[in-house]
């Protein structure tokens, strides 16, 4: 994986987006930085601007203020190098799956990888059950474009997977090339949309709710394919979701959106390490950055940042590491909690905490009162 820090996948400075028909801005003063090669989860409640942020990165809309750089340049200039899958998974309903992939090839002439696209669309094994998936309309352009790649019989079949899959059997979950898009279910459309993204062989994948419609089996398979792509080619993957558990353990970078900006950003492990869950008799927590606290009688449970001078407090508190879900929910419930970005500095890999806003004491006291 590309973790040398030489590349930046996304970089936003003061990004803002306001839609005409809405009163408030969807994004406001949003600044963040995503190094290349990460698998990034973009989480947050509905309507916090996840889709807007991804659409801005994909160059589909223009920001009302600020700048967003994609792969070191403008979204328009980077167009060939990223793939984008919209939340609604729009595909031309009148086309067949095979025709949709041909469309992908036509619109991405310079970088289309037919094999990668078909592996996603028709199932994980390339041994295609259909002798000629392109039917009677087999385009001559493909023969020219993909010469050897297309003739290669069974590339990419991992050991232990190939033998028990007999060519000629319809793959579980895979699609038939002649299926019409309009006849597909939501999850099947997601598969085709992802196939287009894989076929482009992008350096950056912007996926808006990619897993929402998928059954657990397909989710496993496609998530595996995404991880494989990232591992093999150093592809940066940005996936949005409002289900935190869906992406836990998969991502090595996390953005929590709220209030039109990124509120938490960084490696999930470092983010977790930067917080401590305290339990103990109710007492003053001033001096600490308290994200959330709630008490039951004289007992107090609080999630605090372990960034203060004497953090975590040792006097009489029971400390525990919070789970990622607890951490995110605590921040979502408390919009006042200061933003936090953990960033890797140089090659050492040590965490460097940056409090963006410095209102710790005020919020700390307010939150400390049960």
């Amino acid at each position: 994986m590309n973790r040398d820090g030489e590349g930046t996948a996304l970089e936003a400075v003061g990004l803002g987006k306001r839609y005409r028909r809405r009163r408030g801005p969807v994004l406001q003063d949003c600044s963040f930085h995503l190094p290349a090669g990460r698998i990034c989860a973009l989480v947050g409640p509905n309507g916090t601007g996840k889709s807007t942020l991804l659409a801005l990165a994909a160059g589909l809309i223009r920001p009302t203020e600020g700048t967003l750089k994609v792969l070191g340049t403008t979204p328009a200039r980077a167009r060939e190098r990223f793939a984008y899958v919209a939340q609604a998974k729009p595909l031309p309903p009148q086309l067949t799956v095979a025709a949709t992939l041909r469309l992908g090839a036509e619109l991405n002439r310079a970088r289309w990888d037919r094999e990668a696209a078909e592996r996603i669309a028709y199932g994980p094994v390339y041994a295609n059950p259909y002798a000629d998936p392109y039917g009677e309309e087999s385009g001559s352009a493909y023969g020219d474009m993909h010469g050897e790649a297309a003739a290669d019989p069974v590339p990419g079949v991992g050991p232990g997977v190939g033998p028990n899959l007999v060519p000629g059997v319809v793959r579980e979950g895979g699609l038939h090339p002649r299926d019409r898009i309009r006849s597909l279910s939501g999850g099947q459309r997601t598969r085709v949309a992802l196939a287009l993204a894989f076929g482009k062989r992008p350096e950056l994948m912007l996926l808006d709710e990619p897993m929402a419609d998928l059954d657990p089996l397909a989710r496993r398979e496609l998530l595996g394919a995404l991880l494989g792509e990232a591992a093999e080619h150093g592809t940066t993957i940005v996936m949005s979701s409002h289900v935190v558990a869906e992406l836990e353990g998969v991502c090595d970078h996390l953005f929590l959106m709220g209030g039109g900006r990124i509120r938490l950003g960084g490696d999930p492990e470092q983010l977790l390490a930067a917080h401590t869950l305290l339990t103990g008799p109710a007492r003053d927590l001033s001096g600490h950055t308290v994200v959330e606290s709630h008490g039951t009688g004289r007992q107090l449970t609080a999630l605090i940042r372990t960034d203060g001078p004497n953090s975590p407090p040792t006097d009489g508190w029971e400390t525990a590491a919070p789970s990622l879900e607890e951490l995110l929910l605590a921040h979502l419930r408390n919009p006042e909690a200061p933003d936090l970005f953990t960033e890797e500095t140089g090659g050492t890999g040590t965490a460097d905490m940056t409090d963006v806003t410095d209102v710790t004491d005020v919020t700390g006291e307010e939150n400390a009162r049960p």
């Binding site: 160059g59 619109l107 994980p124 993909h146 062989r201 595996g224 494989g228």
Partner: protein
């Protein structure tokens, strides 16, 4: 799972002719429209050829036959063949004259509106195709097919129209006939395409785009019909010549000049005088008038009128196309421009 992808990445092959791929993608997405267009062209061409040849022949033979048997039929020609022939001419003329509206409706609804509505336009923009090039393809490929199609229909329609002169009293200045008989047919069709695309981009939805495109295109063709006579200088004659205008002239106005030299339009005084100069003189003197005049377009103005109107309509089309590009550029990161 990752091992599934442990294939060697094929080196990306640089293929020239990305424009060809883009053009092919437009055809692929609108294959049914292409088939419909081809079928419509074939049906129109076949009907017009039938009307020009066997239709006219049979109808005219039938009319002559009836005239021989019944003197009244000579003055009021009718019969099943004539009605079939005239229906074929009227229907094809109507369809050709209103093709621009059909093109506008399709371009607004299917070509652009629906793609923006269901997001497939955005799908294209996030492949390796910029919105500007996507729009260029959306305009260029249909423009080619629309131009070729209408350009082929024009000579056929002219054949049919001119051939029907004796039976149907067709005029060169008839609004529908004029729109189907020359270069304006292509210009209006292209204008319909551009207006439809702009309507699709403005509304971003299928049905509103269809409505707006058809309404605007209807207004444009109506304005064309309305102001057509002013698109080329008219001919004005006075005296006896104004009473007997050349054959097939489009008379626009006629009137009188009083003894005080005041020109009065839309006045039919003395028009009943026969064209003998003496008769006209006495009529003028009797009414205290100095002269009569008439303004008209002779048939020789057909092509100047056609070409001027073609130019104007193409300019409108270019304006609509430019507006589409500007609109798209303002909305999206259309080209390499910084945000």
């Amino acid at each position: 799972m990752t091992t599934l992808l442990a294939s060697t990445r094929p080196a990306p092959v640089r293929v020239p002719g990305a424009a060809l791929g883009l053009a092919r993608s437009v055809v692929r997405l609108h294959r049914s429209a292409l088939w419909f267009w081809l079928l419509l062209m074939v049906a129109l061409a076949a009907t017009m050829l039938w009307a020009y040849g066997p239709g006219y022949g049979t109808a005219s033979a039938d009319v002559q036959d009836q005239c021989r048997r019944d003197i009244e039929a000579c003055h009021f020609p009718g019969g099943p063949w004539l009605s079939r022939y005239s229906t074929a001419v009227a229907l094809t003329t109507l369809v050709v004259a209103f093709l621009p509206l059909l093109v506008a409706a399709w371009a607004g609804a299917a070509l652009v509106g629906r793609e923006l509505e269901n997001g497939t336009a955005h799908l294209a923009w996030t492949q390796s195709v910029s919105p500007a090039r996507w729009l260029a393809a959306k305009l260029a490929v249909p423009a080619l097919l629309v131009s070729v199609g209408t350009a082929l229909l024009i000579p056929l329609h002219r054949l049919m129209w001119d051939g029907g002169e004796n039976l149907l009293w067709t005029d060169w200045f008839d609004a529908y006939g004029f729109r189907s008989n020359g270069t304006v047919a292509v210009a209006y069709a292209l204008c319909g395409l551009a207006v439809g695309v702009l309507a699709g981009l403005v509304t971003g939805r299928t049905l509103p785009a269809l409505g707006v495109a058809v309404a605007v295109m209807f207004a444009i063709t109506h304005l064309g019909d309305q102001y057509r006579p002013s698109m080329w200088p008219t001919v004005t004659v006075t005296g006896a010549a104004s009473l007997s205008l050349p054959d097939k002239a489009l008379q626009l106005d006629r009137g009188v000049i009083t003894d005080e030299g005041v020109r009065i339009g839309n006045n039919m005084a003395c028009t009943t005088a026969d064209s003998s100069v003496a008769d006209l003189r006495s009529c003028l003197a009797h009414n205290d008038l100095a002269d009569v005049w008439a303004t008209y377009h002779p048939q020789s103005h057909f092509w100047p009128l056609q070409l001027t109107e073609t130019g104007i309509v193409l300019a409108v089309a270019a304006l609509a196309a430019t507006a589409s590009f500007v609109l798209l550029r303002r909305r999206t990161a259309a080209s390499g421009a910084a945000v």
